[in-house]
Symmetry: D2
Subunit: 489 residues, 4 copies
């Protein structure tokens, strides 16, 4: 009955998945169009659902929340006419498995709350690590939750605050919250952005005409023609209105710990992080990998599409020619709608095909961004060997992913992570390849610009998925039995 | 009412468009699943609509024809259950502008005809150049046409044939037909393939278990796990059944004139043409182009995605580093559904973004496969310059496209083709780039394997779109006033 | 996939079903709107699908054919904009079981043919009794059939005619056709109506402004505000244009044999047949029934809705008070969409409910229009008894239905008709009621205005479903083994 | 996007509209099927949207809320599988104008709240007259409202209660609420029903096997085969579980004031109110009307369908024959989907047609249930006169509707009510009929069983829409400026 299945990430079910992208704009005509474009540019951060809230003096707050892609839901004149106003925010989300249809609709952000001084909407990228405890306490005091989302706590905390202004209430609410958050929020006239004290998830500020935009990544500024001003700092809150942007730092200061995996995989290659394009950083990772893990071979092939920049870097560093040994079907963007059993069994073939005539008798280096469960890696290796490759060498542009993320990334349980249960050599055997090498954690730090590698005493990034060192204790998870890394590990 | 708009070709409206892909299989369980997969692999040859016909002894002939993509229409258990049987054929099509919705549904192939000895269905890739005259004559004699398609003539010619067997009738019908055709047809038990005497459009034969498959390209054999046996020859008809494949040559023999543009753009890079992957041929084209049209620069960037293999070849030949200066949005696969005016005006930005931090202050070589109207090329140039590139050099992996195709490719009217009205230098000025160079026709022939270049006395390929030399006179078009190239041109 | 299930006849699956309604108009602005309204008024004659064809000098012939109700398909501005022009025809149809979805779409009328002098579309109410033989012959001569409909023969016969004008060709075609037909057809400028020599199915002419309309029933003239001019006569062909209406009689003259069941059930009560409202005729039938089959009781209740006028007549004649003992659910118009097993088992309760407090301890006369299989009658009897009725007396406003119709009405096979296998008393026992009486055939003739009852030598109506006397031999059916009534029966 | 427009009330936009129907069941297998059937039977009480909540030990609380009719939304196996459990409640609603699409979805009941001791869902028929004030107060204390519905207050009041059990919390919440409410609610194991102290809206109890059902009307018990036990009393709360039904009276006792308009129009004719079928009461009203307002005429015609029982009563009392002078189109159930301007202008003709041949030259008494704005009455009068009626006499089965309802019925603003601005004679002139008579308020009381007529000192019913005497002061409306009747009026 439901007209569209939640679209899967293009090409690969075996990746970590960013759970959200956020966007907001103030001071433009027909803000909803800009929000739709911004969300479209951020679609890689969440494909399952999206929502937009706007405010117009005549109609008040307007909202539309839909399952599916932005381009399918938020582009028709019909929908956009229902979203008038010069200020608006939006959210795209990837949802955890098992929620679907009607139920999940409740969880689609932005969330909206009506307070005594007026309404506010918030869109949240990240994850609140004490949400279970907060929720329990709020329900006991009479709050009615409408969703299963951790983010809804923020609205209820705001509702109970005695703050006079909505930004005050938001500050007060966020001080009670632990974990990672990059938030874009709005009142009738104010566009608000805020990052948690560690700045785990990204958030950037742009200027468009006399108006302002906030976005998870700079690629969303590009699509609307906005100028990239700067990144919002860790622990910073900005309030943008017609009159300008005000900034302050409501939380106790900490050293920033930005998510290093944004460099590896989540962010779009044309976004700018730390003054450099993500594409260049990934090319750098490929170069580092070529230095750390050289091997004699005929061609370097990317696992499309996320392995491409690192494969180019590897080729440039090693001098081994770059070639497209695996071709993806341009029409694979969404998974098949309700495929029959027979079709489902074709699996990865629906999405990509080996360039048989090219691969035959060659020694092939395959560059991929990460290995999670390893299921796709095995299938790709089989396709390459079926096509007659002489040797297959895997080179991975990130260290082994051995720990789950609790800061807004969808990771399998620890025991499903290949690197949590196997050594590098066991993984090589499991995948059945001639060699398998991951970049070292130090190498990755060098590639993102830390010339000295990782400062183990005070690392510059959150790298918990590789190191098991969690910069914020995941208290809900610990209560549920999760055991963080012990000193011995 | 119609739930989905006809999807445009991904990324570029300014390309020549192959009008069809055909596929058939016999001797397998649940043939419709295989046909759906084959059509999915051929989706790049036609995205507007698709159809499948199967035959099962119990239910007789079954058919489903739908607007939209294969993955959206031909994968649900519901649809596939309506298409039982061990033999089936299918067709994907791109349709000429202006026909949409209900009307166009009449034109979706395969076409089916009930004859006195039983039914037959046909799927046609190509174009019949005397269809208007044939149609007029058939109507005068009492045939009722159901579509506006040139291909329907074949069914009516078959209905009027006195042949005892369906393949006999098909032969008789095809002898009356001029132009280009690669046909896949079926009766209750026979899978029939046929190419016109010049073999303008591709058609290949594969083996799967004890059964047989016919497809426009080998990538459609790969997806179902079939073995690629050989190309059907120009002028050949094959009849495949449970018992094997019979071949004969019903037409007067001519020298083959395969479409050279299949190498340049239409075919998928992982398909095999002439014993070599199309990817390698395109890399070759890039190498030839680097030899013919060298220029000093910092990076070589493809115009994604079709320019990629030639850009890699150009980089390998020239030694100038390859880089992804333009990033496409992974979710652009289909165009926006009914975009508002404001969104539509964003144009190419919805689909790609320049890697600003990478491009800035660089001398950039942009490699594209072809220039048709030039509209997209101008927009891309502007984006590159806006991002701060120092120089922009266009290199095109095909000669100037100056003549329309009448053999199954959708081309603009001649006066809309940039190369029909401008010299190379005028085009350079029109596009506003620092240099613009097309590969020479001889260079293209060399890249596809003709070491001596083009044999002008007897060219090995149909290159009418570049040369204006039409191997079959387009008689309907001439009657409507089209003037083929004169000796003077 | 298909958004709506074919709607069943409201309320009762156990009725004979008229298979079609036809409508046409010429000389009005936006003819399609009028056709849609006319078809809406005729929806009771066919609920499964509908189609409209119009002609406009700019766009040529336009058509839309859809599964489902007129109000759901032919009212949106989108659809109507695709149907411009001042002349148009339309068709609603009820389809035989087993055909559904994509397949059945081929059978939705009007049918369209392109001839050498121009196009024509036809909509047919009735049934061609030699269609199988005609089809076989046409296929042998090279016609390609696109549907499984008997009506398509007419278009192919027209295509093969040598007539100069379309009306000439239509005459020639119809002379080869046996059975019942009321046809509305159109060319670019002419609206054509034609009834078979016996005039089995209805067709009426109306005037609207300077234009003309043709319809199955007068209720379709009322809805568009057209004036009812007269019925088209048996064997008459009319051609209406901007300039007026011409009439002639192309067939050999026979005595008219209009379908008497149109009076009993098919036609809408507000339509006019023979100068009198169908409602009044049905009230008359109730009065005759009260005379023929009086019984002592407390209340007279109709089986809604078709039994209502006869129940009112029975009450007026007998003096027994009329009451609504059975209430139908206003929202039952269409059947449930894909009901679960449990819901499906509720059966007739979904559609109607007994007025328990009213029925309790009463002697109830239930008046229904006909008994086909008897399945619904049994369920209604059970509901009435469950509610505590003291006695249940069935009175049926038509004679026992013992023979199938071959002239455009969907009847079960003979052995499924209750009256074909049981006497009146056996039926009474089978239904389990205190008494059961059908009106006599003579009584029915009196009620429709034949004061002397049925003239057995030359009956005024087609009453084959009651009498087994078929005015046109059903030749296809006889070939397939149907045995018409023998003298002995 | 939404496939179907909110359906309008069948036939007449010019009626008062009941805003809701409620239903619940406990102790049955697959409760959702029963709830769907019950809501289908109550569809006349609300056609815009519906919702069902169930509870199953394995899946917890499940819910589905949809725009449109029950038969279209809550019958497919897909939907029902998502609603497992042996306890469930449901709600159908008619919504106030202006809310549509996504926005209105928030307002679709049942509402659900998670409390510290578990979840509860409630469905509310009626209207809370102090909801605005309650909402303001709750927001000030930190409640987040998700809908614009007055009913949501109840859930928030429950959330803030200190009661240990959900029924306790509900009692406490309802004591703070003013106005009319018939509520069906559920916890994991308890089905709860409650009526306000005046019992303005109906609620009945039924038994089905070992389980129990609650419904707005008895017709919803009939459809599932449940036995009608009794009406819930004014001010009563019942809690039904597997083990039986407990009852208590948590509110201060008042004299019951049931809505008299339920007898006139809202309830279905086959429902039982006060021990008698609503049909019989309406027939009684017709008889009273014939006594109070006799006139010489040829036929008595109902305005279909709601005027039918009163017309039958009028005919039986007066001896003037009953006839169906106006025929409605069986397929009018829902309004046209997006009709073109031209079609929309046809107005009432789309829905009904005059039986012209019957009406001509007759003196016609038209019986309708009520006159609200008078717009439809005028159109019907014109149709009757156009058909040639000699005289038209309107007889209305309710007193003049001069005051808005604030207890759960959608009424136009006072100035739109014809009877609020005109005397009976002015209305007669405005409608342009030969005579117009309403039943007196005393006559109506007699017809519903009060032999002495209305006891003005202590009326047995709520008749505020006729009398302007509001049994509960509409405090929100008074705050907004509504002026109740003054003594002078």
């Amino acid at each position: 009955m439901s007209p569209q299945m939640p679209p899967a990430h293009p090409f690969d079910d075996d990746k970590l998945k960013e759970e959200c992208g956020v966007f907001g704009v103030v001071g433009v005509t027909d803000a909803a169009n800009f929000v739709a474009l911004g969300l479209h540019a951020l679609q890689h951060r969440g494909q399952e659902a999206g929502g937009i809230v706007t405010h117009d003096p005549k109609t008040g707050f307007n909202q539309a929340r839909r399952m599916g892609l932005v381009r399918d839901n938020f582009t028709s004149a019909d929908t956009m006419e229902e979203l008038p106003g010069s200020i608006g925010i939006g959210h795209v989300r990837y949802s955890t498995a098992g929620n679907k249809g009607q139920t999940a609709m409740r969880d689609v952000q932005p969330f909206f709350g009506e307070f005594s001084m007026g309404g506010a909407a918030i869109a949240h990228n990240g994850n609140i690590t004490n949400a279970v405890a907060l929720r329990r306490e709020l329900i006991e005091r009479g709050s009615i939750f409408q969703s299963s989302s951790d983010s809804e706590c923020i609205i209820h905390l705001m509702a109970r605050s005695m703050g006079r202004q909505i930004p005050d209430r938001m500050e007060e609410a966020l001080r009670k919250v632990e974990g990672a958050f990059s938030i874009v929020a709005m009142t009738r006239t104010k566009l608000i952005g805020c990052r948690d004290p560690l700045g785990v998830r990204p958030l950037v500020l742009g200027k468009i005409g006399d108006g302002w935009a906030l976005a998870s990544e700079t690629c969303a500024l590009d699509i609307i023609g906005a100028e990239f001003i700067r990144e919002i700092e860790a622990g910073e809150m900005v309030v943008a209105t017609d009159k300008g942007v005000e900034s302050h730092f409501p939380f106790r200061t900490k050293k920033s710990r930005f998510c290093i995996f944004e460099h590896v995989y989540f962010s779009r290659p044309d976004s700018i992080l730390g003054g450099r394009s993500v594409y260049e950083t990934r090319e750098n990772i490929g170069r580092e990998l070529a230095k750390e893990a050289a091997v004699d071979a005929d061609i370097v092939c990317p696992v499309p599409d996320s392995g491409t920049p690192a494969a180019i870097g590897y080729s440039l560093q090693s001098g081994i020619p770059y070639a497209m040994g695996i071709i993806r079907n341009n029409y694979m963007g969404r998974t098949f709608i309700e495929p029959t059993e027979q079709i489902r069994n074709m699996g990865v073939r629906l999405k990509l095909n080996v360039n048989r005539a090219l691969i035959k008798d060659k020694r092939v280096i395959l560059v991929d961004d990460s290995v999670v469960r390893g299921t796709t890696s095995r299938k790709i290796k089989e396709m390459i060997l079926d096509a007659g490759a002489a040797e297959v060498h895997f080179r991975i542009a990130s260290p082994p992913t051995a720990w789950p993320c609790f800061y807004g990334v969808d990771t399998p349980q620890r025991e499903k992570l290949l690197a949590a249960t196997m050594s590098e050599d066991e993984m090589r055997k499991h995948l059945g390849v001639d060699s398998l090498r991951f970049i070292s954690l130090n190498g990755l730090y060098r590639a993102v610009g830390e010339a000295e590698g990782r400062n183990n005493a005070s690392p510059a990034y959150c790298d918990a998925c590789f190191s098991g060192e969690y910069p914020v204790a995941p208290s809900d998870m610990i209560e549920q039995g999760f055991q963080p890394r012990t000193a011995a590990e």
